[in-house]
Amino acid sequence: MIKNKKLILLFFSAFAILVVALTPFVGMEKIPFETILHFDSTDIKTDIFWRLRIPRVLIAFVAGSALAISGMTFQAMFRNSLATPFTLGVSSGAAFGAALYIKLGFIFSLFGIVGQTIFAFLGALISIVIIYALSKIKRGFSVGTMLLAGVAINFFFSSFILFIQFMSDFTESFSIMRWLMGGFEIVGYTDIYNILPFIIVGSLIIIFLSIELNLLTLGEDIAISRGVSVSKVKNTLFIATSLMVSGVISVVGPIGFVGMMIPHISRLIIGSDHRYLVFLNIIFGGAFLVLCDTLARTLIAPAEIPVGVITALLGGPFFIWLLINNSGDGSSI
């Protein structure tokens, strides 16, 4: 069994490497292999490849990985496949923070972290605090109630974002709206450097706590009785996911449903042992979002579909399918 799991990881790694290596060549501008080796050339194709497509593919991969393992972490903590940072309103909190930053129009950074990311992180934290408080007020809060609370939080922040847009002029409003759809078309290497520390720290924390995640899926009481300091672990995981989600969202916008689909499918493929599951999510989530983005920029070329639209088109039906198959007692985990 363990051998199989390693084999699955190996297979998906190969798949992910292929995806990352091949998709930069795909697009409106066909890029022959030879051109990418002429670093010094002024060839526009070389430029497109190295300055546009490569950073775009890289950031899509990083974002996909981060969203997938954040989703996995939430699903384990709440013991339900429907509970993800997106459905519980963490993403919209982060989106609100980032939108507010765009509207305010002042530009700052702190310890090299750009203001938009900081604002997104604070927005995500607000959502998390609300969710956390709700789950504390009443112990044994059902997941159904939790999800409804998530819907409420989403509405709450969405109306704030609408308000910000209403108060903005046409160009601000357009840039906020476009950003809200999620996409990778304006990213460059600096964006990668900006969010990579968040993603690496968050991922390492989650990888480090993968056995604790296994125990959390058994339920909090059992996890405690097996020796897990549940509140400490959960707080750490909340912060790790907030870091990652807000890092991703501040750069590429709120891309939904990746954190729901990928962890669920991964679990069907490799099982519920988070020591393996976390790595499959990183590999598969990254490759998946790169593929979605490739579709986004090729389907109606020369125009682009926002990648968030594509993931939502796939994710909506998936959500309903999960809802039908979900008995709400954590059995889908």
Binding site: F208, I211, N214, L215, T217, L218, G219, E220, D221, I222, I224, S225, R226, G227, V228, S229, V230, R267, G271, S272, D273, D329, G330, S331, I333
Partner: protein, 261 residues
């Protein structure tokens, strides 16, 4: 006299502002098989959850080996005490073997994988609970009785000196119920582990355990040798109901006979 394992002094505990335990005092001795009985809502589950710190008791009210329980790290505590929760409908997507391995968490260091010691502990646990044949089954495919047995096995594999159980045999058919008690007795006799079990089945408490603690309205109403529980109208007063007793032909202990309506 055996060593005191748990010393509970003047413990009060509230859930959502409702006080469940009122200045409760109880000593649990090493090597005992103690049953905790009592009417619904008397605080049995609340008490047992305090013992493993699922419920965090106020400071200096609850001592384990003479040390306030809040001084232990959760991991250390789990290496000494294990717990079998009330039967749940909850499903687990692990095999029985993986589930037992997870119970070795308190002994795991983060950067080493499973050791042979862990494997031996798990094998022993499966053996003593007669569930070796279940090892590779998915937890979700087990029957209620089998699942409960795997839970007891996991508590054993966890390797502590004490096993706490919350109504381990409720909802089980008579055969599986008896098997649970037999296995608990075997564990108690062979390994001298302390067993503390919450139960509604007074007869099984009388027949299988050394001592009984009777909880009523969040306080200890009776504590003593298990066969003394039928004396002095203790049960009548606690449950506010008449009981008819009969001597068990084999054990000669008095047990409760169902009433005729």
């Amino acid at each position: 006299m055996n060593k005191i394992l748990f010393d509970i002094k003047d413990l009060s505990f509230s859930i959502s502002k409702k006080e469940i335990l009122h200045s409760l005092n109880l000593r649990i001795y090493k090597g005992d098989y103690l049953s905790i009985i009592g009417p619904n809502g008397s605080g049995k589950t609340t008490l047992i959850k305090c013992l493993i710190r699922i419920n965090e008791a106020p400071e200096k009210k609850l001592f384990f080996n003479n040390i306030p329980i809040e001084k232990f790290s959760q991991k250390k505590l789990a290496s000494l005490i294990s717990y079998v929760p009330q039967v749940t409908e909850q499903s687990f997507s692990f095999t029985a073997n993986e589930f037992l391995m997870l119970a070795r968490y308190p002994h795991l260091s983060r950067f080493t994988s499973v050791t042979s010691k862990d494997k031996i502990a798990v094998a022993e646990a499966l053996d003593i609970t007669e569930s070796t044949n279940l090892a590779d089954r998915q937890m979700n495919t087990l029957s209620g009785g089998e699942k409960q047995m795997v839970f007891i096995a996991s508590a054993f594999a966890q390797g502590g000196k004490v096993i706490l159980l919350d109504e381990p045999a409720t909802f089980l058919d008579p055969k599986h119920e008896q098997k649970i008690y037999e296995i608990l007795k075997t564990i108690h006799n062979q390994t001298n582990k302390t067993i503390v079990t919450v139960t509604h089945n007074i007869n099984s408490a009388i027949l299988y355990s050394d001592k009984i603690a009777l909880l009523k309205d969040g306080q200890i109403d009776f504590y003593g040798e298990s066969d003394k529980i039928t004396e002095d109208n203790t049960l009548e007063k606690a449950y506010d109901k008449k009981f008819t007793f009969i001597k068990h032909p084999n054990s000669k202990k008095s047990i409760i006979l169902p009433e005729v309506l």
